[in-house]
């Protein structure tokens, strides 16, 4: 019984780093999408739209987690009774916030700067 309630490492860290994992995925996919679409299809519009769409797709779950912090925590095995729950929730929340800023900033870049161009 005790065993079941004990948090294990991977889910705990997954929960703590949830936001930044989304951020990492976002950077990876927008960078790859922009590069590949420009290299293979050479379509700036498609590239810009893809990047903006990806930003929206990845920002939404982060926002969802921020709004439902406790519920997400439970999914990751951080039970309400765990003494350190508040600390873990706080860490996860702030990481999520910073990551959301990071994701949106990258999205802003796509909104301002044209795709597939070398601006020099």
């Amino acid at each position: 019984m005790l065993e079941e309630q004990r948090p294990s490492l991977a889910p705990t860290f997954g929960y703590l780093m949830l936001g930044s994992l989304f951020w990492a995925v976002h950077l990876l996919v927008v960078y790859a999408a922009h590069t590949l679409i420009c290299a293979l299809a050479s379509s700036p519009t498609a590239s810009s739209l893809t990047v903006v769409a990806l930003t929206a797709i990845l920002a939404l779950p982060v926002a969802f987690v921020l709004l439902n912090q406790r519920r997400t925590g439970r999914w990751f095995g951080i039970s309400d009774e765990l003494p350190d729950r508040k600390t873990y929730d706080a860490i996860s929340r702030f990481i999520g916030l910073l990551s959301l800023a990071g994701i949106l900033w990258a999205g802003v870049a796509a909104a301002i700067v044209s795709s597939c161009a070398t601006g020099r």
């Binding site: 910073l98 802003v108 301002i112 161009a117 070398t118």
Partner: protein, 345 residues
């Protein structure tokens, strides 16, 4: 479009005395003796440099203010009255000072920076620009102009530009990575083997400035510089037309002797003097070497004395450079050779 307007404004602003005086005021604060100098990024003479200037100064101001805030807060935390210290020692100061404040300021700076970048993107998207190819060599610059008729004119270690007209520089390298940087025109761009990087520059006023290789390229990296000469359009056209012609024939007996020595001693193996048998493409084109501002990629002034030193003692002036020393000449022969080369205007 917005970015284009923005760019125009910032360029215009850059030229206004107001910005100048702000800059000057800053200089009084910072311990800067002067920000001119032919290679200074702080005295812009090109469109890109002008657009970067205000961004740079904004960021500098922000930095100064933030540093001041931190210093003041630390001072309060250390020596402030009890009440202030209690007020400072709370979680919200971290959230406010460490998250909200930086996110706000950085968002502003980021957007500003992105707008400047977009202005650059618009600039480089212009079509039908005249282009000049610049190749990074070990350790000098090959500069190839194209006449309106499509004829290629090789030159070296000096970039001539018309004023107020954007020009596309094609940057290449066939050896190691170099970086082309003329600070008064704008930022740098690397020359990478296997790629052609394009840089659009536009000089805003006539005059001479200096540039230098900015990516470490081994050996004599420190001595790989060049001059940029911006000239009014009609002067530039005349200059280009004159450079399209072959070399001037020797005018004096001494120059004639110099030319003979030049040809007999194998200089043409590496150097080209158009209109003579010298057709080497390894070293800089010397067809009009006499009219350049410097020798050996701005390592030496361009005069006969420097020419003579360079021919015999180049390895001491610029170690590891690819030209072997030619010490076989007598004093008379050397000055004849230098006279010939100086005469190639």
């Amino acid at each position: 479009m917005m970015a284009m307007r923005f760019l125009k404004r910032s360029v215009a602003a850059g030229r206004q005395p107001v910005t100048r005086s702000i800059a000057a005021a800053l200089l009084l604060i910072l311990p800067i003796a002067g920000c001119s100098g032919p290679q200074s990024a702080l005295s812009p003479r090109g469109v890109e440099a002008f657009s970067i200037g205000p961004l740079f100064w904004t960021a500098t101001w922000v930095g100064l203010v933030v540093t001041l805030i931190v210093v003041v807060l630390v001072a309060v935390a250390l020596y402030g009255p009890e009440r202030w210290r209690t007020w400072l020692g709370q979680d919200w100061i971290i959230i406010g000072g460490g998250i909200v404040f930086p996110v706000t300021v950085l968002s502003g700076l980021l957007v500003y920076g992105l707008l400047i970048m977009q202005a650059g993107a618009m600039r480089s998207a212009q079509v039908g620009l005249e282009s000049i190819t610049i190749r990074g060599k070990l350790w000098w610059w090959e500069v190839v102009y194209t006449t309106p008729e499509g004829e290629e004119i090789p030159s070296a270690n000096e970039l001539r530009l018309p004023v107020d007209r954007p020009v596309r520089l094609l940057l290449e390298s066939d050896n190691v990575i170099h970086s082309f940087w003329a600070p008064q025109l704008g930022g740098k761009l690397d020359m990478i083997p296997g790629r052609t990087n394009e840089l659009v520059v536009e000089a805003t006023e006539a005059g001479v400035s200096r540039g230098q290789c900015a990516e470490y390229c081994g050996g004599a990296h420190a001595l790989m510089s060049f001059f940029v000469v911006a000239m009014p359009q009609d002067e530039y056209d005349a200059w280009l037309a004159s450079k399209a012609e072959g070399a001037r024939a020797p005018a004096t007996a001494e120059q004639e002797r110099g030319q003979r020595l030049f040809l007999e001693n194998g200089c043409g193996a590496c150097h080209q003097v158009r209109g003579t048998e010298a057709r080497g493409l390894i070293g800089p084109d010397l067809t009009h070497v006499g009219s350049r501002l410097s020798l050996a990629a701005a390592a030496l002034p361009n005069d006969t004395k420097a020419l003579m030193r360079w021919i015999t003692d180049g390895q001491h002036i610029k170690p590891e450079n690819r030209m072997p020393p030619f010490r076989q000449f007598s004093g008379g022969e050397l000055s004849a050779l230098a006279a010939y080369l100086s005469g190639l205007e």
